[in-house]
Amino acid sequence: MVVITTAKPDEEVFEALERYDIKKTVVVSCGTCAALCQTGGTEGLENWTKKLEEKGIQVAAGIVSDDVCDNRVMMKDLRKIDDELKDADGILTLSCGLGEQSLVKVLGRKYPEKPVIIANNTEFMGMTERIGRFYMRCRGCGDCLLNDTGGICPITTCAKSLMNGPCGGMVEGMCEVGDYERDCGWVLIYKRLEEMGRLDLFEKLRDSFDWSERGHQREVVFR
C-alpha cells in the first residue's frame, strides 16, 4: 500500500511559505510513499533545495526520512537536526498529509510556534500497477464488503459508491463518469461473481452503508 501524493503547484507552496514568513527552512522529505510517487525522496529534496535557494529561501537542513508519518521516527530524526531546526523559521515537508501532521505533533512539543508547510496533495491509498500507475481501490470504509462482492470494492470502483449497482449510467460495461472510459465497478463485480458461479451474492439486496460509527473521527487504539 502506498499513500499516493501529487505535487502542489510551486506557486501555491511558495505562497504558503511567504504567508508564514519563512526565510530559512528545514526540508523533510519522505523516503517511502512520496519517494515512489516522485513527490519526495532524495530527488524531491534536491529539487526543492534548488528551487528554494533560487527564491532566496535558505535551507538550514534537508533530510530524507523513512516514515515521516510515524511519530517515533520523526522524534528521532528531528532530534538529530535540532540545532538547524532551532535556527529555522519552519519546515517544508515533501510527504503526505499524515507525514505533515506527524511532524506538527512531534515538532509542536518543542517548537509549537514553528509552521510546517506541505508541498504535496494527498490523493488516496493506492494499489500499484507499476511506478506511475496507482489506483484507488480502498477508501478504508471500515466495514469491508469484499467478501460479498467477489473481492472487488464497490466503494472505490463505482463512481457513486453504490451498494446496489450498476446504475442506469452504465453503458456496455463502462461508467458514465469519465466519458465511458473507465469500467463500471458493478459490472466488474458482476463478471467476477459470474466467473465464480456466485451470482447469488450479486442478487443480494444490500443495506445502505452504516455511517453511525464512521461519519466522524476514527481511531484504532488497542493498547
Binding site: A159, K160, S161, L162, M163, N164, G165, P166, C167, G168, G169, M170, V171, E172, G173, E176, V177, Y180, W186, V187, Y190, K191, E194, L199, F202, E203, K204, L205, R206, D207, S208, F209, W211
Partner: protein
C-alpha cells in the same frame, strides 16, 4: 397500514387498467408556467406525469416543489422523481414526509446522474442511498409507519416505483438488479426507451418473474432533429436507421409546417401501434410511459395506440 391505492396511478395499476404516464421537465427557473401549460395539455390523457429531478445533474427547480405546484395548479397527478444524488438518508426521509404533506402520492426512485456530469460539478455527490435502498426506505415508512423502528406519528402514503433498462449490457446484471428492486418493494417499473421489439420482448419476459407491473418507456420523436439528437446524445440508446431515414424523409419532402407535423405524428403512430399492441397481447405490459417532453400534441394519437 393505510389502505392502498393512494393515487390514481396506484388505482389504475391495481385495477389492471392499461396505464399511460407522461413526463414533465421543469427547467432552471422559478416560473413553472411553461411546464404547467404542458401539464394541462397532457392531463386529459394520462394517469399521471413524471416530474424530473435535475436530469443529467443540471440543476433545475426542485422536483418535490415542482410536483406540488403542478398538482395544485392543474390537478394532474405527479410521479415525483427523486434521485439519491443530492440528499442523504436522513434528508430523504424528511423529504418523503414533506412530499406526502404536499399531497404527492407517487415517487420514482432513481440514482440520478453523477454531479460530475452536470453544471455544478463542484457539488458533493451524496449517494448515501441507492435506487433500491430508497425503495426500501419508502416502503418501511409507508407500510411499517416507522423509520429504524421509530414510529412516525402520521406516516406518509406513497406508491414507489423504480427504473429498468432494457438496453443494459451486460443484461444479466440489470435483471438481477431489478430483482433487488422488486425485493425492496418496488410497486411499478418504468423502463428506459427502447426501439427493438425482440429485445423488449426478451427483457420483459425475463423480468416477468418479479411480478412488478411494467410501464414501457417510449419516445415518440417530434422531428428529425429530435430523433437524430436522441440517437446521438442519449448514451446506450439508439434509434434504428430505418426510423431515422423515415423521419429524415419527412423533413426533406414536406415543406408545409402543418402537414409536416401531421406526418411526424402519423409516423409515430405507425411505429408505436404494432409495437405496443404486440407487447400488450403478450401480457407483458401494465402501461406505457411517454418520455417525449414538449410533445404534448402526440397524446391523442397515443391514446389511440393504447386503446387499439
Amino acid at each position: 397500514m393505510a389502505n392502498r391505492p393512494f393515487s390514481k396511478l396506484g388505482e389504475g395499476l391495481a385495477k389492471g387498467e392499461f396505464v399511460l404516464t407522461g413526463e414533465l421537465e421543469p427547467e432552471k427557473t422559478c416560473d413553472l408556467s411553461h411546464t404547467i401549460k404542458e401539464a394541462n395539455e397532457m392531463a386529459p390523457y394520462v394517469h399521471a406525469a413524471n416530474v424530473t429531478d435535475s436530469p443529467l445533474g443540471i440543476v433545475t427547480i426542485n422536483s418535490m416543489a415542482a410536483s406540488n405546484i403542478i398538482q395544485r395548479e392543474t390537478g394532474l397527478e405527479c410521479v415525483w422523481q427523486l434521485t439519491v444524488r443530492d440528499v442523504n438518508k436522513l434528508g430523504i426521509a424528511g423529504m418523503i414526509m414533506g412530499g406526502h404533506a404536499l399531497g404527492l402520492r407517487n415517487v420514482l426512485s432513481l440514482t440520478g446522474d453523477h454531479t460530475a456530469l452536470g453544471d455544478m460539478p463542484e457539488s458533493k455527490p451524496v449517494f448515501d442511498l441507492d435506487s433500491s435502498t430508497l425503495v426500501k426506505l419508502v416502503r418501511e415508512m409507508v407500510d411499517e409507519e416507522s423509520i429504524n423502528g421509530h414510529e412516525i406519528e402520521c406516516p406518509p402514503t406513497f406508491h414507489v416505483g423504480a427504473a429498468a433498462n432494457p438496453n443494459a449490457d451486460p443484461m444479466g446484471a440489470e435483471i438481477l438488479k431489478i430483482g433487488r428492486k422488486a425485493e425492496a418493494g418496488a410497486e411499478f417499473l418504468q423502463t428506459q426507451v427502447v426501439y427493438d421489439i425482440d429485445r423488449t420482448i426478451e427483457f420483459l419476459t425475463e423480468i416477468k418473474k418479479y411480478k412488478v407491473p411494467v410501464l414501457l418507456g417510449i419516445f415518440p420523436m417530434k422531428s428529425y432533429g429530435i430523433a437524430k439528437g436522441f440517437d446521438t446524445f442519449v448514451p446506450g440508446v439508439s434509434v434504428p436507421p430505418d426510423i431515422l431515414a423515415k423521419w429524415k424523409g419527412i423533413k426533406k419532402n414536406i415543406t408545409d409546417k402543418k402537414e409536416k407535423k401531421a406526418a411526424y405524428d402519423e409516423a409515430n403512430y405507425e411505429f408505436f401501434k404494432p409495437f405496443i399492441t404486440e407487447l400488450k397481447k403478450k401480457g407483458l405490459l401494465a402501461g406505457v410511459h411517454c418520455m417525449a417532453v414538449h410533445y404534448t400534441r402526440i397524446f391523442p394519437k397515443l391514446i389511440e395506440v393504447i386503446k387499439a
